[in-house]
């Protein structure tokens, strides 16, 4: 029973969502809208789980004295933003919007921009023509790097053409292969779950 009931629920829900897709009947649309609403409600609760986990992990680490100042700032941010939004509103001139624009956004952009420095460092250390495959990769990278800046367009229109060729043929062929693989894999997994063949979500029983 412990296994049969979840498998039956999964099959009914999966089959229902599959069949409603093909029906414009009002009942089918109503079923879809209702299930969709519940989907959002369940997801909203997962946000709460995330917040609870964030608070718990940070409090535990603070009590152990690990990176306490940073963790306190993180927790303060978690409390501050909703407080600002609730008491000061969310309009353009509100404190919430100010804090978002002038604190959160610059901090995140700064952390993200560090990537450029590591890319520069990695290009010097790691991008070596060690063998034939590495030479091909290196050549493709150089062509795309050169072709994606306007200065090369001013010199010659050949570089952008080569760049587009690299992107539109060899690169796209690889991406298509991956996408088709993902699509077939997702479809197979979904069918296996709906038909009760894949049962790892039942703790592997």
């Amino acid at each position: 029973m412990q296994q049969r009931l979840p498998i039956a629920v999964c099959f009914i829900a999966g089959a229902l969502m599959f069949l409603q897709y093909f029906s414009p009947h009002p009942v089918a649309r109503a079923v879809f809208v209702t299930i969709n609403d519940y989907w959002q409600i369940i997801f909203a609760f997962t946000l709460l789980v995330g917040i609870a986990a964030f608070v718990r992990t940070n409090l535990r680490q603070i009590s152990r004295g690990k990176e306490a100042p940073y963790r306190l700032i993180g927790l303060a941010g978690l409390v501050l933003m909703p407080v600002l939004a609730v008491f000061g509103g969310i309009k353009i001139e509100s404190p919430f919007q100010w804090a978002f624009e002038n604190m959160l956004a610059p901090m995140q952009a700064t952390v993200f921009s560090l990537l450029a420095f590591f890319v520069a460092s990695a290009s010097f250390r790691g991008f070596r023509a060690r063998n034939a495959q590495a030479v091909i990769l290196l050549a493709a990278a150089l062509v795309v790097l050169i072709g994606r800046v306007p200065i090369t367009e001013m010199i010659s229109d050949t570089f952008p053409k080569i760049t587009f060729w690299v992107q539109n043929y060899p690169s796209m062929a690889a991406r298509r292969g991956i996408l088709i693989g993902i699509g077939l894999g997702s479809m197979t997994t979904a069918l296996r779950v709906i038909l009760g063949i894949e049962r790892t979500y039942l703790r592997g029983e």
Binding site: Y21, R29, F32, V33, N36, D37, W39, Q40, F43, A44, L47, I90, K91, I92, F96, Q97, F100, E101, L104, A105, Q108, A109, V111, F112, S113, A116, F117, V119, A120, S121, S123, F124, R125, F127, R128, A129, R130, L138, A141, L142, L145, I146, R148, V149, P150, I151, E153, M154, P160, Q167, N168, S171, M172, R175, R176, L179
Partner: protein
């Protein structure tokens, strides 16, 4: 120690190059690529009063690249008197989307609720996207500021995607794929994306198959679009910095390989 010193020299070089690029006033004349021209022509061809949906599907971290892209699209839409419904499927895109829409609307003297509206954020992207195919007001019963959606003038005649000419997803990740696969596939809606440069190749297969109408890609795409619009902005300002950084990386790759082959010749590698 030597390794650490080299790293700091590389970091310092990049910092210097990018900073100097932003301090100088050199501008590149970039020619619009076919993709940018296609995007521009489509928005330009829409009759006045047409409704488009702009979804801010990005995080705050990519704002320096996303902002010029978003601004150029919004400016073009408002300039042509198109009506905009703004949404966000990323929590962080919400405050940014609201600010960018309000800022651009002020430039063109547009009225909130009549010429544009911002519906805010909805969690669970796929569910929100599919739900709007049935009823936008059901998924967003209120706008970002708490006004009931049914009472907003621009939303009076909007039920679902059928009344919207195009969805434009401004994204820094794979979220726009959901718009393509669900809204494009199931509701036959035209989808355009404005993407960070790193994400362009991810969308190439969708573009080639016609599932995606067009892409405005990266700072370069923003710069090309700005030139078509005749309003140079953040895209053009960033072109020298991007060009310099690209050239710097190329030089580093070349130097790195020269040192590698020299070391191999001397038996060190």
């Amino acid at each position: 120690m030597n390794r650490l010193k080299t790293r700091w020299i590389i970091f310092g070089g990049l910092f210097l190059i990018v900073t100097l690029s932003y301090l100088t006033n050199i501008r590149f004349k970039s020619v619009a690529s076919p993709e940018i021209q296609k995007s521009y022509d489509y928005l330009d061809s829409l009759p006045e009063g047409s409704v488009i949906m702009v979804s801010f599907d990005h995080e705050a971290s990519s704002l320096p690249e996303i902002q010029p892209l978003a601004l150029v699209v919004l400016r073009h839409a408002f300039k042509n008197n198109l009506k905009i419904i703004g949404v966000s499927l990323f929590a962080e895109g919400t405050a940014i989307g609201y600010r960018l829409l309000s800022q651009t609307a002020r430039e063109y003297d547009k009225t909130y609720g009549v010429d544009y509206v911002f519906l805010g954020f909805k969690p669970q992207q796929i569910s929100a996207i599919l739900g709007m195919g049935e009823s936008i007001a059901h998924v967003f019963p209120e706008d970002y500021l708490g006004t009931p959606t049914d009472e907003i003038p621009i939303m009076m005649n909007i039920v679902n995607y059928d009344q919207i000419e195009m969805v434009i997803s401004i994204a820094d990740g794979a979220l726009a794929v959901h718009w393509i696969e669900y809204v494009g596939g199931q509701y036959h809606q035209n989808i355009m994306t404005a993407l960070t440069a790193a994400m362009i190749t991810t969308y190439d297969p969708y573009l080639a198959s016609g599932q995606l109408y067009s892409v405005i890609g990266g700072l370069k795409g923003a710069a090309e679009y700005e030139n078509l619009l005749g309003q140079p902005g953040g895209g053009n300002r960033g072109m020298l910095a991007q060009t310099s950084a690209h050239v710097y990386v190329i030089v580093l790759i070349v130097i790195g390989n020269i040192l590698y082959f020299r070391g191999r010749k001397n038996g060190k590698a």
